[in-house]
């Protein structure tokens, strides 16, 4: 079909189409090679390992069928609750991040003085985002972004005397030291923890803000003008013009945030898998755990994409 027309009389020439096809493959071949080497093979091997029991001495693998998976779902009391907590975290954090980054992006998009400075400011967390730096600054424990508001671990910070710390540390914490006086210790502490966690959430929103901002700037002003002429109020303009146009970006941001949260090295599931592999040397078990985790993430993202994707408004064809 495709090669025949040029082949008349000459056995080894390639048609234009074939040449193009070869070119096209040539460009993506590096990726295919990289994928096979660094993703596909490890993934397959990891799956294989998950059905083995690996002994450290001499690294021998012993097939044990579904035992590892049975262990995960039936015997291991730690893992499943952790997994569910992490999924819960993702489900809670993602809308919050989505909301805040959108709000901030909308605000940054308006004509305010010192806009460039503010934009750089909001992007700062991405640049200095070394995990340990952020952890120490926010005094969070390894439990990391913990489940319910108000249940935060303080294992990461050096604060021994809470009162002394509160008095000494100016900032969000100190705002709550003032709250303490007005609201009483319990409520103030809960509010304090909420603010702390909020700070952490905001710190994870840098890229999302950037994406939204880029998207907002891509909306041509004529649309807004047309809406205004038709008498739309500010609120209506947002919901009828801005919101639909950036809905594809919202989907991207949601997916990105979900992935980011799941892959975050500080979440407990990841720490557990890591410990199983590199401290307890249960390579088989840790592979099974990792695959379970992977499937959970995959299923969740598929569901979310299906649900949200249907509501996304695409402007014309590209």
């Amino acid at each position: 079909m495709s090669g025949t027309s040029a082949r008349v009389g000459r056995p080894f020439t390639t048609s234009l189409e074939q040449k193009r096809r070869i070119e096209g493959w040539a460009f993506i071949l590096p990726w295919v090679g990289g994928f096979l080497l660094f993703v596909a093979w490890p993934l397959a091997y990891s799956l294989y390992l998950s059905f083995q029991k690996v002994s450290v001495a001499g690294f021998r693998a012993q097939p044990v069928g579904l035992q590892n998976y049975k262990q995960i779902f039936i015997f291991d009391t730690a893992f499943l609750p952790m997994l569910l907590r992490t999924v819960g975290n993702v489900l809670v954090d993602t809308p919050v991040i989505l909301f805040f980054s959108l709000v901030v992006a909308v605000m940054l998009n308006k004509e305010v003085g010192g806009r460039a400075f503010l934009r750089s400011l909001f992007f700062l967390p991405v640049v200095i985002g070394t995990g340990y730096v952020i952890r120490e600054l926010f005094g969070q424990g390894v439990g990391g972004i913990s489940v319910a508001l108000g249940i935060e671990g303080d294992a990461g910070s050096l604060a021994v005397d809470a009162a002394a710390v509160t008095a000494k540390t100016p900032s969000i914490v100190n705002v709550s030291a003032a709250l303490n006086a007005f609201l009483g210790a319990d409520v103030a502490s809960a509010v304090n923890k909420f603010l702390n966690r909020l700070g952490l959430v905001l710190w994870r929103s840098g890229i999302q803000i950037l994406l939204f901002l880029a998207g907002l700037q891509g909306i041509s002003i004529t649309l807004y003008e047309a809406a205004r002429i038709d008498g739309a109020s500010e609120w209506e303009v947002f919901w009828k013009v801005t919101f639909p146009i950036i809905s594809p970006i919202m989907l991207a941001v949601i997916i990105f945030t979900i992935i980011d949260t799941f892959v975050d090295v500080f979440n407990e599931v990841v720490a557990y898998i890591h410990a199983q592999a590199f401290q307890s040397f249960n390579f088989g078990y840790s592979s099974a755990l990792a695959w379970t985790y992977f499937l959970t993430v995959f299923i969740l993202i598929t569901i979310v994409t299906a649900m949200v994707g249907r509501r996304v408004f695409y402007r014309g064809s590209r």
């Binding site: 193009r20 096809r21 096209g24 493959w25 040539a26 460009f27 993506i28 590096p30 990726w31 090679g33 994928f35 660094f38 993703v39 093979w41 490890p42 993934l43 091997y45 990891s46 605000m107 940054l108 305010v112 460039a116 503010l118 750089s120 700062l124 991405v126 640049v127 200095i128 985002g129 070394t130 340990y132 730096v133 952020i134 120490e136 600054l137 050096l158 021994v160 008095a167 540390t169 100016p170 900032s171 969000i172 909020l198 700070g199 905001l202 710190w203 950037l210 994406l211 880029a214 146009i245 950036i246 594809p248 090295v265 898998i273 592999a277 590199f278 390579f283 840790s286 985790y293 993430v297």
Partner: protein, 323 residues
């Protein structure tokens, strides 16, 4: 006569109503503007405060940190904390490793992802229907799922304790968030007009020529985004280098991790044996040193960012990543 007065009164009332309406509208707008600014500034504070805290804490002596009346400005500027941190982090060696990984990794991403993204964008292969979702797929796979096999693989190649595990995957479009960069480039190249292709081919240029001489030079903003992000993410990665590199030759980010635990252990060891004021001082000292170490780790990306901040934010807009 009455009609005239009524008319005049009516006009006066209208003027008054319109005028107050305009004033109300204007002051409403002004109020919104100010409120907006306040909200933005407070949020900005959330982002800026930790950095300020870090810098000011790192410059204080333990006595300052413990004193309740000294908040941001130290009574005496001391670089002691930095001296300790510098040694504790083996700064020069670790920074060298960090820089090597960051720069080479970013370069690898730049070269490979542009190539690959271009291939996905400007050629129509049936295989793309399968391959491109696979690209997105690599983003979804948690690294832990691949880690044990990769560890085994890299040991077999003899790549352990070198920067190869980081650099080589980057040169084939994998590596730290490599798929994301492929997506960025693909998005960018999709938007370039096809006429460029056509006219170049009419002039006899082959695919590679078109890519290097025409398309790539046009993709400056995408290249910038990819390079900057890749560099920053490589620099800040404290997980993978901890696995593939030994402690003596690892990156700054990993050194920071072990530094904090060393500092804390030293502090805990002394905790039982001293007076409570001494304890506070020790604690404060650990905090100060820790903050100094943290600052040393982020100072490089911070400086790069300060000089190139405009490009960070602007380039994303120009990649056409978002419509």
């Amino acid at each position: 006569m009455r009609g005239r007065i009524a008319g005049a009164w009516r006009r006066l009332a209208q003027w008054r109503d319109t005028r107050s309406m305009v004033i109300r509208h204007r002051s409403y707008k002004a109020f919104l503007g100010v409120a907006l600014y306040l909200v933005l500034l407070s949020l900005g504070f959330v982002f800026l405060y930790p950095v300020i805290y870090m810098v000011s804490t790192s410059l204080m002596t333990p006595a300052d940190l413990v004193a309740p009346d000294v908040l941001y400005i130290p009574t005496a500027f001391r670089l002691d904390n930095y001296q300790i941190a510098w040694l504790g982090l083996s700064f020069v060696k670790s920074a060298g490793t960090s820089a090597a990984i960051s720069l080479l990794g970013a370069l690898g991403h730049l070269l490979s992802c542009s190539l690959i993204g271009y291939g996905f964008a400007r050629y129509k292969l049936k295989a793309h229907k399968l391959l491109f979702p696979l690209v997105v797929f690599t983003l979804i796979v948690p690294p832990q799922t691949l880690l044990v096999p990769l560890y085994i693989q890299f040991s077999r190649y003899g790549w352990m304790n070198t920067i190869l595990p980081f650099v080589v995957p980057a040169f084939v479009g994998q590596g730290l968030k490599g798929a994301l960069f492929v997506i960025v480039f693909r998005q960018f190249f999709t938007q370039l007009p096809w006429e460029l292709d056509d006219s170049a081919r009419i002039d006899g240029a082959g695919g590679w020529r078109i890519f290097t001489k025409i398309m790539l030079p046009l993709s400056r903003s995408a290249m910038l985004v990819v390079f900057l992000f890749s560099m920053v993410w490589h620099w800040n990665d404290h997980y993978l280098p901890g696995i593939f590199l030994r402690l003596e030759s690892t990156t700054l980010a990993v050194r920071l991790k072990s530094f904090w635990s060393v500092v804390r252990a030293a502090h805990a060891a002394v905790l039982q044996t001293t007076s409570s004021y001494q304890q506070e001082l020790m604690q404060a000292h650990s905090e100060g040193v820790g903050m100094a170490a943290s600052f040393l780790v982020i100072v490089a990306p911070l400086v790069v960012y300060l000089f190139l901040q405009r490009y960070f934010t602007e380039s994303v807009e120009r990649t056409g990543l978002v419509e």
